[in-house]
């Protein structure tokens, strides 16, 4: 498992709809901000890259200070962004695919307004479990 990772789901309007700090390293408030800043900055690269390829998993698109940003773009242009320091691309890919399934389940919920925050605690638990499994 990666020592630290930050997972964020961005709606197509560039609004974060889910955030999770996953990783075994003890959390530090200022670092959490820094992680989000890195992810935010990576959006520029993703924006270009997403239209240049037809795969959903964009692999690592950006990096800063040993931290790598891997991105997975869904068909609806929702982006799963993972900031991590491990290099196991396969694990990350599996993680993204499983999260995508979870996300689709959320999306199918008639009470969920697309583009709004994902507040389901079940989703959160599942994502964290997946992170432990794959990262």
């Amino acid at each position: 498992m990666a020592s630290m990772a930050c997972f964020v789901i961005m709606s197509k309007n560039d609004i974060p709809i889910y955030e999770a700090e996953v990783g075994s390293a003890p959390k530090r408030e200022d670092q959490a901000y820094q992680h989000q800043f890195i992810l935010h900055a990576a959006l520029d690269v993703v924006q270009d890259l997403a239209w240049a390829t037809n795969t959903m998993f964009l692999k690592s698109v950006d990096r800063f200070d040993d931290l790598v940003v891997s991105v997975y773009v869904t068909a609806g242009h929702t982006r799963f962004m993972l900031l991590h320091d491990s290099r196991s691309e396969d694990g990350i890919k599996s993680f993204f695919q499983e999260v995508h399934e979870l996300y689709i389940k959320i999306f199918l919920n008639p009470l969920y307004l697309p583009g709004s925050r994902i507040t389901s605690s079940h989703f959160d638990t599942k994502v964290r479990a997946l992170a432990r499994k794959y990262l």
């Binding site: 309007n13 560039d14 609004i15 974060p16 955030e19 901000y33 989000q36 800043f37 890195i38 935010h40 900055a41 990576a42 959006l43 520029d44 690269v45 270009d48 890259l49 950006d62 990096r63 800063f64 200070d65 307004l113 583009g115 709004s116 925050r117």
Partner: protein, 1184 residues
């Protein structure tokens, strides 16, 4: 590292620009520096006049026609770099002094200063000192060589002068370069970099260094060729240098020479975008980067690392490639450079690196990347502990605000008309980042002592992210706002609004008193038909689409105050003091009045903001100006509307109004407001206070209403009408009074009276009152139950120059007559009492009946005696009918009740009336007491059972049997109701209370109810009327009986009974006759029988009785009475014993009709119908 490096920067001559002499005002310094710096490029061709070739120029291929020298002016100079020898472009090759002569009068001193300053740049090949604005005294001084004067002149000639000077400087530099190159070629120079100096010089190293020196010299010569504007020469030298460096393994210099050659290549082909060239540059630069990396790895152990050259090379290439098409490559390069930041030892190098990366990303269009690195820069600045660094940090952070969507309104250049779409407004709302950025801006501005910017940052932070900030944090922000405001001059404006949130709540279009009604010149009565007609709020025929699509129109009037209701919300956990708030009007024709508001934590408040329009025209109110936390800000309604819209869609964190407990969001359309010229303005005033008029039920009172013209235009026409509920409570309006007062001049007033009568409270009202507290239970005016006075009025019509008359609009004033009806005298119950007194042949009666001539007189007398006793002409008995009203006084005042009966609706008061009123003289009812008032009723029987309706029934409906009867009854009831109503309208119960309260009791319903109960018995006459007469002979009886039955007047009542001339005495034959009158319209057949009873009730006509003897038939007399006719049956009695007897006639009707059955309330059709007359008392005198 150096900022702003590019591939071409190797060809720029560095010139230090130093201020010398006395202090220079910043504005002047900026001007002078700009004057110098504009000559960054000097064409070689223009140098010809200043250039003189002393020796043969080493720059053989110098392009004199097309080439140029590039100058890079560094204001304030720079530290000499240890890498100067490696790249000649890093050397300061010339020094320019700038002097502001008015502040430094001594020219010698200036010259000395300049020499001192230039001394710190030993590499400088040329020095110039420019002195601006010399005084006259300085001008006339001996001309000096070391100071070049710029006499005061216009900008253009200064520029020309400066151009000349710079060209001169460039020419001398060029000549110096030639000298330098010639000397270097001939003698050779020792060239060292910090890398070399550290290496221990063993013998092997020395030999190596000697070999390398040649290559290095070639590289430097190449550099100078580049500086001299001759890329072709430079290229040749670089080629040699590259070969030599490769041979000697001088990796670092190899890279340097290669870099120079790329620079020469690019400069040579300046302005061309050639893919081949680009590939070449790319290829060479990747080599350069590789070489630098190798050099770095080689010299890793050394104290000085050349890693910055590698990074610079990457940045140079990135800058060269920086286009959208190469975005991937550039960002890879930049990310690689960013990775190298850790290897940089110097913090300022890292700062420069991040700045360059941010700039390049910005150029590339990667705003978020640029913002990220800018933030890194700001953090590096914040690590330095001084105000200037903090200021820089703030400025850098400010540039990131656009990317994080937290920009100040000042920089975002928001124009009110062109707002972005709603969706884009909420794009990229990454609140965590936004808060961090704003907090950093706040921190840096506080450290940089920039109160306005810290205020603005704190305001943005608080306004946008209050739901995410803890109460303690909110208070902290509030105090930092206050602290910043303390340092600001009072009246400072800030573009960013803080708290509270303000939304337009409602737009009191016009208080109902001020309504404007459009007048059309064709309509005389312009006030009618304007509003919605009919009972429906919506009619499908009104103009469609006016309310939905277009905005509503509002007219304001010059000089009349108007109000706008706004809602303020303070969602934070501290007390918010809004020092003043007023409408912000951009059109300039409106005076707004400030209000100060105090908002407790988590509350919202409705505030009425008012102002006065001052000029005719359009008014636009985009928002409010708020003076809060010591700074004046403008709050736009539209922003809050968008915020609320976003909150409704779940895009924004929280709705500030809902979390303050306010109602749900509803969008208020801002109407288009136009200001119209002044109109008259009537103000109504109810004399005696504006409170509600307290009236007891049924009270009648005059209310005076004063109309005052508060406008500046006279009222020329007016119309007063009634509207609303309970309109019938207004009895009269003194129209003539106000009409005579027209026109009402400005300031004039008129008072007119309106007569009111309080309505009757309904049972529900009473119940509602009962449920309230007893103290003020009866004092609450009911909303919506009041009548209104609708006063339409208008000023004079203006005659415009053309013929058509432009009518200014009229207005409507609504004066609510706030009538508060309280419960007054209450009618508890009304009962109809009937008393039947048997008719008596008393002395008085006999006397009065003795002579027919003075019957009327006597009857009058009798009435005076026994005023209320009446003989029922149909029953032949005394009948007293009384209406008993039980009144209760639940109020706390005393009531005097006065009952009067108006008969026959005539104005002449009948004598009965007088007696009645005297009898019921002023009943006084104390509080909480009840009293009964008796009202005598007279003439209160239908004349015949067979009035018109009965005739009809009998004629047509008889065959239909029982149904006819019910119908008949129905009709009878209708008729009765009519007569009851007639009667009721005659009875008036008036009351007085105190000095000025008086009114009438509404008893109609009660009486009606009372009468209805006993209607049949009391009102309908019996079908047969029996009466006994004392007949002397049969002839008299006959004439009497032949009398017309129709003219039954009040007098016949007394006549019909009082027949006996003489008193009846015992032991004497008394001739009597029984008169039977048919009150129906049909012939009645019957069996009549007459009975006589003594006081003991014994039947005297019994065979066994010996008290009375009789002659004639007394039982089972078959008689047939024609309709409305009378039949007389004579008989004689002989009383043996004096005393009191009573005679009674009864008859069984044969073949009774349905009407009769109905009247007798017969239950079965074969039941015999019995009619009985009233008993007659006979007093028999005489001795036993």
């Amino acid at each position: 590292m150096e900022p702003g490096v590019s591939i071409e920067s190797g060809s720029a001559i560095r010139v230090a620009v130093l201020p010398v002499g006395g202090p220079i005002p910043p504005a002047c310094l900026r001007d002078y520096a700009a004057l110098v710096a504009r000559h960054a490029r000097v064409d070689l061709a223009s140098l010809r006049p200043y250039y003189s070739e002393h020796q043969k120029s080493p720059f053989a291929h110098q392009p004199w026609d097309t080439g140029c020298l590039r100058l890079k002016f560094v204001l304030g100079g720079c530290m000499p770099s240890p890498w100067e020898d490696f790249q000649s472009a890093r050397k300061v090759l010339a020094v320019v002094g700038i002097c502001h002569l008015p502040s430094s009068p001594d020219l010698d001193r200036v010259a000395a200063d300049f020499v001192d300053a230039a001394r710190s740049y030993p590499s400088a090949l040329a020095n110039r000192c420019f002195a601006f604005c010399p005084t006259d005294a300085q001008l006339v001084e001996k001309k000096r060589d070391d100071i070049i004067m710029f006499p005061p002149s216009d900008q253009q000639s200064w520029e020309l002068h400066m151009l000349t000077m710079i060209q001169d400087l460039s020419a001398s530099l060029l000549m110096e370069f030639e000298k330098w190159v010639l000397r270097a070629e001939s003698t050779g120079t020792i060239l060292k970099t910090p890398l070399d100096s550290q290496s221990s010089l063993g013998s092997e190293e020395v030999i190596k260094a000697k070999k390398r020196r040649l290559g290095r010299a070639q590289k430097i010569i190449g550099d100078y060729c580049l500086l001299a504007g001759s890329p072709a020469d430079a290229n040749a030298h670089y080629a040699t240098a590259i070969e030599l460096a490769r041979l000697t393994g001088d990796v670092f210099w190899h890279a340097g020479a290669l870099e120079g050659s790329v620079c020469a290549l690019v400069v040579d082909r300046m302005g061309e975008s050639d893919p081949v060239l680009e590939d070449e540059v790319k290829f060479r630069y990747y080599t350069i980067i590789q070489l630098y990396r190798r050099a770095t790895l080689q010299d890793n152990a050394q104290r000085v690392s050349p890693v910055s050259f590698e990074l610079e090379a990457a940045l140079k290439l990135a800058r060269y490639l920086c286009r959208r098409q190469c975005a991937k490559e550039v960002s890879d390069l930049l990310m690689g450079a960013a990775d190298g930041a850790k290897a940089l030892i110097d913090a300022s190098d890292r700062l420069i690196l991040y700045i360059e990366i941010a700039r390049l990303f910005g150029t590339l269009g990667y705003k978020r990347k640029a913002a990220f690195f800018s933030r890194q820069v700001a953090q590096l600045y914040l690590q330095q502990d001084n105000a200037y660094a903090a200021m820089s940090a703030r400025q850098v952070l400010t540039t990131t605000t656009t990317a994080y969507h937290v920009q100040s309104r000042k920089t975002s250049k928001m124009d009110h008309g062109l707002l972005k779409s709603v969706v884009s407004l909420f794009e990229s709302q990454w609140s965590t980042l936004q808060m961090v950025v704003l907090r950093e801006i706040l921190m840096s501005s506080i450290r940089a002592a920039d109160p306005l910017s810290s205020w603005s940052a704190a305001a943005r932070l608080l306004r946008s992210f209050y739901p995410l900030i803890t109460p303690a944090g909110q208070s902290g922000l509030a105090s930092s706002l206050a602290n910043s405001a303390d340092r600001l001059p009072s009246g400072t404006r800030c573009a960013d609004p803080c708290l509270p949130f303000i939304r337009l709540h409602s737009f009191p279009l016009h208080p109902s008193q001020r309504e404007i009604v459009k007048r059309s010149p064709h309509k005389k009565e312009w006030w009618t038909g304007g509003g919605p007609s009919g009972p429906f709020i919506y009619t499908p025929f009104t103009k469609g689409g006016t309310s939905g699509t277009s905005k509503q129109e509002v007219n304001w009037i010059v000089g009349e105050p108007v109000q706008v209701m706004v809602e303020l919300a303070n969602p934070c956990s501290f007390d918010l003091v809004v020092e003043s708030i007023y409408l912000s009007v951009h059109s300039g024709n409106f005076d707004a009045f400030p209000v100060s508001v105090n908002l407790p934590p988590n509350t919202s408040k409705l505030v009425l903001l008012s102002g006065i329009p001052t000029q005719v025209g359009q008014v636009s109110i985009p928002g409010c100006i708020v003076h809060c936390f010591g700074v004046i800000t403008e709050h736009l309604f539209k922003e809050v509307d968008f915020l609320l819209l976003g909150a409704a869609q779940g895009l924004v964190l929280s709705d500030p109004f809902r979390c303050c407990g306010s109602s749900k969001f509803k969008s208020v359309n801002f109407p288009s407001i136009s200001v119209v010229p002044p109109l008259p303005l009537l103000v109504a005033n109810v004399v005696g206070g504006d409170g509600s008029i307290l009236l007891y039920e049924g009270e009648i009172r005059d209310v005076l209403i004063t109309l005052t013209n508060a406008g500046t235009v006279p009222v020329e026409e007016a119309n007063v009408a009634l509207s609303g509920k309970n309109q019938d409570s207004v009895i009269s309006i003194a129209h003539s009074t106000w009409k005579s007062a027209l026109p009402i001049k400005p300031g004039g007033e008129v008072t007119f009276a309106v007569t009111l009568r309080a309505w009757h409270l309904s049972p529900t009202d009473l119940e509602a009152d009962g449920s309230r507290s007893p103290a003020n239970s009866r004092r609450i005016a009911r909303e919506g139950s009041n009548p209104f006075l609708d006063i339409h009025y208008a000023g004079p019509s203006r005659n415009s120059e053309s013929d058509n008359i432009s009518l200014p609009p009229g207005r409507r004033l609504v004066v609510p007559l706030n009538i508060c009806v309280v419960q007054g005298m209450r009618l508890v119950r009304a009962r109809l009492l009937s008393m039947e007194l048997p008719a008596r042949f008393t002395d008085a009666h006999l006397r009065s009946a003795s002579s027919k001539d003075n019957t009327s007189n006597d009857s009058d007398a009798m009435h005076n005696d026994i005023s209320l006793l009446k003989i029922d002409p149909y029953k032949g008995s005394w009948d007293l009918r009384l209406l008993e009203l039980e009144l209760f006084n639940p109020t706390d005042v005393v009531f005097d009740v006065d009952v009067s009966v108006h008969l026959d609706g005539t104005s002449v008061e009948l004598p009965e009336d007088k007696t009645a009123s005297s009898a019921c003289h002023k009943t006084r009812i104390d509080r909480d007491y009840s009293a009964r008032v008796l009202i005598p009723l007279e003439h209160f029987k239908l004349p015949v059972l067979d009035t018109s309706f009965f005739v009809k029934e009998n004629g047509s409906d008889e065959p239909l049997g029982s149904r006819a009867a019910t119908l008949a009854e129905k009709n009878a009831k209708a008729e009765l109701n009519a007569s009851i109503k007639n009667l009721i309208s005659k009875i008036k119960v008036k009351w007085h209370s105190g000095r000025n309260s008086s009114g009438e009791l509404n008893i109609k319903d009660a009486i009606q109810a009372a009468l209805q109960a006993s209607i049949m018995d009391i009102l309908l006459p019996d079908p047969l009327t029996f009466s006994f007469r004392h007949a002397k002979d049969g002839i008299a009886a006959k004439t009497d009986s032949s009398k017309e039955p129709g003219d039954d007047s009040s007098h016949s009542a007394s006549e019909s009974v009082l027949r006996c001339k003489d008193p009846i005495s015992a032991n004497e034959m008394t001739h009597m006759e029984v008169q039977i009158r048919n009150n129906t319209k049909e012939t009645i057949q019957m069996n009549l029988s007459i009975s006589c009873k003594d006081v003991a009730g014994e039947n005297c006509f019994d065979e066994n009785s010996a008290t009375v003897l009789w002659a004639g038939v007394l039982s089972d007399i078959y008689l047939e009475v024609q309709p409305l006719q009378e039949v007389v049956h004579p008989f004689s009695i002989y009383f043996l014993v004096p005393g009191d007897y009573s005679l009674q006639a009864a008859s069984v009707i044969i073949d009774a009709t349905d009407v009769l059955r109905a009247r007798a309330k017969a239950e079965s059709p074969d039941e015999p119908i019995l009619c009985r007359g009233s008993p007659f008392h006979i007093h028999v005198v005489g001795t036993a």
